[in-house]
Amino acid sequence: MNRRTALAGPIAVLALLASACTGTGGSSKGADAEAPDDPSGVRGSLTVLTHRTDLVQDGTMKKYAAEFNKTYPGVKVEFDALTDYEGEVKIRMNTENYGDVLMIPAVIEKKDYPKFFASLGSEAERSAKYRFTDYATVGGKVYGQSPIGVVPGFIYNKRVWSEAGVTDWPTTPDEFLDDLKAIRARTDAVPYYTNFKDMWPLTQWTNVNGSVGCDPDATTRLAEGDPWAEGADLRVADTLLYDIVRGGLAEKDPTTTNWEASKPRLAKGEIATMWLGSWAVVQMQDAAKQAGTDPADIGFMPFPAQKDGAFCAVTSPDYQQAVNVHSDDKAAARAWIDWFTDESGYAQANLALSPLKDAPLPEVLKPYGEKGVKLIDLDDAKGGEVKTIDNQSEVGIYKPDYRQELVDLARGARKGSLDDFLGDLGERWAEARDSLGS
């Protein structure tokens, strides 16, 4: 017995210590990372945290660093590639050691940006040159810059679609469903593949937001209205997904899907369509090369909805690069971000949209240019608020759960009607918004 009491003391002390440990950092709030005037004068060594483990392993990032050193010879760049980027960086950000340059993890709330990152300049000044500045703007200052932009859309196998007799992009959800039915009837391909098991592909459906109504203020409307109101973008998207699964147009057993295996299957024409984004085109083309099929079969089309006779597609940023507010070499870090965004050619290498406003459209999006698809940049002023409501309500529009439930509902593994389901989501959303008092 006496041993137990002897232990209780140290445990209590530890408990106090441990609780005192949280809540560190954020003391140097509001620092700026200013661009250096003289490239050759910049000295320092940088650690860049990145989620692109593939590019670090195959030496591509090293080549970028060597290229960077031609302009900035005094800066030593090292990369720290993290497989579970979100999870690991989130924990490291409880300390001050989270690299000099890093991608802003999605989990960080916008209002906390000034506590973690150094400012890159004012929104007014940066938005003239760059896209996506408002995604990282807090109080008029920009804290991050995405090196590439992506456009959501359906990746499809052109050969399969034309075998089914479809050559034009469908312009309404109903037409899209008819096309999938034609694919089911006339080919052996799975018309649509949900990637249910891997979860994140389902979250991509949220990127439909803005494409249906062609409204740059779509994010603000999420924050202020019911995302699942009649005719709202997310309702249209979720209804389409529901109808696809309900109509037996998706894979037979969604619970055991496999993302890596789905890529060659799409390339070979065993799968006809997947809702992803422009970033996936490169991966599918690689899969086609490996499978020995024609990479030119990989097509990309916008969400089947038109406003005033034109398709709309939303551009959105990838991970945004930022400077650690605790970094000792802020000037060097800033130089790296500027160089990587403006001059590295990273966006072109990834066939992605350049973050520079005056850059031409990438190869992947050429058909968009030809068919007059309108690219819109969403206003992200209320983006932080949407995330807060999303977490508070536990609805999770950026998380896979509710769409997995939607798919289960559609294939009868869960009881209920679509209207009730979406209505319930809307109610929870409204409740959370009201409780946040906005």
Partner: protein, 316 residues
């Protein structure tokens, strides 16, 4: 327990000090003697405190805050998280899923007991079967999740085997909540059977051999041997297994998390907690949920010990 340890740690009567010097003052000798076991314990205790108790204490501390997991700011919210948790009944609905695992663990204990008994007698290829049964427990849980994902896939291993046996099935094994939970519970049985089996086997083999001989001379059948020698002999281990199974069923995580991620009605309380903490950034609420789960498991164990007290078994 305490008695034996104390005996073990007490050094043997002090050997006569070498040389003719005076013996050290009895007081210092006694303190040193009392200190020795603690010196040995420093390393394990430090590890235990750092990696077990400190995080738990930290978690309990978080459960009274609204911390989101990263923000440098956190506010003390008192018992707010616990109130929220206990007023949201839907958060406890997931315990129905534990029912599947509870049923599965009954199956698991019965099977383990059966195999342990059979293999404790002289059976051909005895050691081989022991290895086969224990092997799954050695495999990493994540690997098991992936292996069984292929197993249950449409046209996967299970379907192929059934087809070989002539049963053509088109069943999506993880497709409906009932089927998915049953399949997952089956995987859990496959994985943990080995552990129960080894515990039982060890207990059975610690029963002195003369007892069996005596029983055989008296003409006892195998069933009578089991009923009157083995069963009472392994009671403490059986009790332990039941406790482990119940607490295990309440806190299932690995297998469903990797195989379905909690989709299609397979979400358990721990998966839900992880989602609260890492998807919705409600670390405070999730910590409270973890504390509540700990209390539930403790309560269940306590009730169980009350109903089935741990008696001293004396076979001879």
């Amino acid at each position: 327990m305490t008695d034996t340890t104390r005996k073990a740690t007490r050094p043997a009567p002090p050997a006569a000090p070498a040389g003719p010097e005076r013996a050290p003052a009895p007081r210092t000798a006694r303190t040193r003697r009392r200190l020795t076991p603690w010196l040995f314990l420093i390393a394990p205790l430090a590890l235990l405190l750092t990696f077990t108790y400190a995080p738990i204490a930290n978690m309990v501390a978080y459960s009274f805050t609204d911390w989101d997991g990263v923000s440098p700011e956190l506010n003390y919210t008192g018992t707010g998280n616990y109130t929220e948790l206990l007023t949201r009944s839907e958060l406890f609905e997931v315990f129905f899923v534990s029912g599947y695992y509870l049923v599965a663990s009954v199956v698991q204990i019965v099977l383990a007991l059966y195999f342990a008994t059979v293999l404790s007698f002289n059976v051909r290829f005895r050691n081989f079967f022991k290895g086969v049964l224990f092997f799954p427990y050695l495999i990493n849980g994540v690997a098991i999740g992936f292996v069984f994902l292929y197993f249950f896939q449409d046209g996967g291993t299970l379907d192929s085997v059934l087809r070989l046996l002539g049963a053509e099935t088109d069943h999506a094994w993880l497709g409906t909540p009932f089927s998915a939970n049953t399949s997952l519970a089956g995987v859990s049985v496959w994985r943990y059977l080995g552990l129960n089996f080894v515990l039982f086997l060890g207990a059975i083999q610690s029963v002195p051999g003369e007892l069996y001989e005596a029983a055989e001379i008296d003409g006892a059948s195998r069933w009578q041997q089991f009923r009157h020698i083995i069963a009472p002999g392994i009671r403490p281990v059986l009790g332990l297994s039941v406790i482990l199974s119940v607490s295990g069923s309440l806190s299932v995580f690995e297998i469903p998390y990797i195989m379905t991620g909690g989709a299609t009605g397979t979400e358990t309380f721990v998966i839900q907690t992880v989602k609260l903490a890492f998807q919705f950034n409600k670390t405070g609420l999730a910590s409270a949920a973890a504390v509540v789960l700990l209390l539930i498991v403790l309560a269940v164990t306590w009730v169980q010990r009350r109903i089935v007290p741990d008696e001293k078994v004396d076979l001879v």
